[in-house]
C-alpha cells in the first residue's frame, strides 16, 4: 500500500503534440489556395427585345469617348492611334467626363456640388466645346473590341476607365481610391457617402459587341 500511495497518476506524453500539429499545418498549407474573389464588376445591358424595333438614337460625337481595340492589340482613342500608357488613358477619360462643355441646369447643379479641387480640375482641363456636355446624362465612354483582341488588353482598358470614374468619385467625397474601393455599402454612413459620390455622375460605360 505504501508503494501505491507514492505512485504518480499516469500521464500521456505530449511531447509529440507539436509534431502532429506541424504535420496538419503542412497538409493545409499545401492543399489549399486562398480564394481570390476580387475583380472588375460590370453590368451587362438587357437582351434586345425582338418586339421593339431598334431605333438609332443620334448622340453627338462630342458626347462619346470612343475607344477601339483591334486584333493586333492596338488602340484607337477618339480616332487617333494611342500608344501611351494606361495611366494616360485614364487621365483622358477623366478629362472627358469632367468637361462640362454645355452643362445646362442639371450639369450646373452637379458642378456646384463638386469640391473645390475638382472644380479647379474642371476649370483647368475642361470646358472644351469639342468634348462632353455634362456627366449627368450626356457623357458616355464607349469601348469596342474586336474578336481577336486579347482578354488582357480588354481588362486593362476596362480597368483604366473604371479607375477614372473611381478617382472622380473618391475625390468628390474626399477619400482615397483605395478607401473608395473598400466602402461597405451595408453601413449607413458609408452607403450615404457612396450615394453622394455617385449622384449625378453615373458610370456610363458602353461595351459594344465586336464585329
Amino acid at each position: 500500500m505504501g508503494r501505491g500511495k507514492s505512485r504518480k497518476p499516469p500521464e500521456i506524453s505530449s511531447g509529440s503534440m507539436a509534431d502532429i500539429a506541424f504535420l496538419l499545418l503542412i497538409f493545409f498549407l499545401v492543399t489549399t489556395t486562398i480564394a481570390n474573389d476580387k475583380g472588375i464588376l460590370l453590368q451587362l445591358p438587357p437582351p434586345p427585345d425582338p418586339n421593339i424595333v431598334q431605333e438609332d438614337i443620334k448622340i453627338p460625337e462630342r458626347n462619346i469617348f470612343k475607344i477601339l481595340a483591334n486584333s493586333q492589340d492596338q488602340l484607337l482613342v477618339e480616332n487617333e492611334p494611342f500608344t501611351a500608357t494606361m495611366d494616360e488613358l485614364k487621365e483622358e477619360v477623366k478629362k472627358f467626363v469632367l468637361n462640362f462643355g454645355e452643362p445646362g441646369a442639371e450639369g450646373v447643379e452637379v458642378y456646384n456640388s463638386l469640391p473645390p479641387s475638382l472644380k479647379a480640375y474642371v476649370n483647368k482641363n475642361g470646358k472644351s466645346p469639342l468634348s462632353s456636355d455634362n456627366p449627368v446624362s450626356k457623357a458616355i465612354v464607349s469601348f469596342k473590341a474586336q474578336r481577336g483582341t486579347s482578354y488582357e488588353l480588354y481588362i486593362n482598358v476596362l480597368d483604366a476607365i473604371n479607375a477614372a470614374y473611381n478617382e472622380i468619385y473618391a475625390e468628390r467625397v474626399g477619400i482615397t481610391v483605395d478607401e473608395w474601393l473598400t466602402l461597405d455599402r451595408d453601413d449607413d454612413i458609408q452607403k450615404d457617402m457612396y450615394d453622394r459620390a455617385r449622384n449625378g455622375i453615373p458610370r456610363a460605360i458602353s461595351i459594344a459587341e465586336p464585329d
Binding site: S14, M17, A18, A21, F22, L24, L25, F28, L29, T31, T32, T33, I34, A35, N36, D37, K38, G39, I40, L41, L42, Q43, L44, P45, P46, P47, A69, A145, Q146, R147, G148, T149, S150, Y151, E152, Y154, I155, N156, L158, D159, N162, A163, N166, V177, L181, T182, R185, D186, I207, E209, P210
Partner: protein, 153 residues
C-alpha cells in the same frame, strides 16, 4: 579558467512547452482562411492583373466560368474552352447552366446572381463576348472579371 566556469551554471534551455499552442494557432488560421477548391481546373489560368478591384460581398451568389486553353492539349486541343464545375461546355449550354445555378438560390436572390469570369490572359475577346451575349439572354447580367491586384511601380 575557474572564474568563467562558475558563471555558466544557469540553464540555457528555451522552454518549448508553448510550441504546440503556437503551431495550433497557425493551423487554425490556415484552416479558417482557406477554402478547399471544389472543381479541378482543366484549363490554363493565368488571371489578368488590374487595379480597380471590387470584392464580392456574398459568395453564395457567385458562379464561376473558367475560360482558357485546355491543360491537356493532346486530349482537348488548343482552342480555348469554357469550363464550369468539372466539365467543358459550349456557348449554347450557358443558358442552361445559369438556370441551374439560379435554381440553387432563393427566389428573391435570383436576379442578383453574379457570374465570375475567370479568363486566361491569352484568351481572345471573341469567346468572351459570345459568353456575354449568352449571359444577357439568360438574364444573368452581373459579370465579374476575376483579376488579381496589380502592384503599382
Amino acid at each position: 579558467m575557474s572564474k568563467f566556469k562558475k558563471s555558466s551554471n544557469t540553464s540555457n534551455d528555451i522552454p518549448t512547452a508553448a510550441l504546440p499552442d503556437i503551431i495550433f494557432m497557425l493551423l487554425f488560421f490556415f484552416m479558417v482562411t482557406t477554402v478547399v477548391r471544389k472543381a479541378d481546373i482543366l484549363v490554363k489560368q493565368k488571371i489578368p492583373r488590374a487595379t480597380q478591384l471590387t470584392k464580392i460581398e456574398r459568395k453564395s451568389l457567385v458562379s464561376y466560368l473558367y475560360i482558357g486553353e485546355p491543360v491537356n492539349a493532346s486530349l482537348f486541343g488548343t482552342e480555348p474552352k469554357i469550363q464550369v464545375n468539372d466539365v467543358f461546355i459550349t456557348e449554347k449550354d450557358i443558358i442552361q447552366f445559369v438556370n441551374q445555378e439560379k435554381d440553387k438560390l432563393s427566389e428573391v436572390e435570383r436576379d442578383q446572381i453574379t457570374m465570375s469570369i475567370k479568363g486566361d490572359i491569352e484568351v481572345k475577346m471573341g469567346i468572351v463576348s459570345d459568353i456575354q451575349q449568352e449571359l444577357r439572354k439568360a438574364n444573368a447580367r452581373k459579370v465579374l472579371y476575376s483579376s488579381i491586384k496589380k502592384i503599382k511601380d
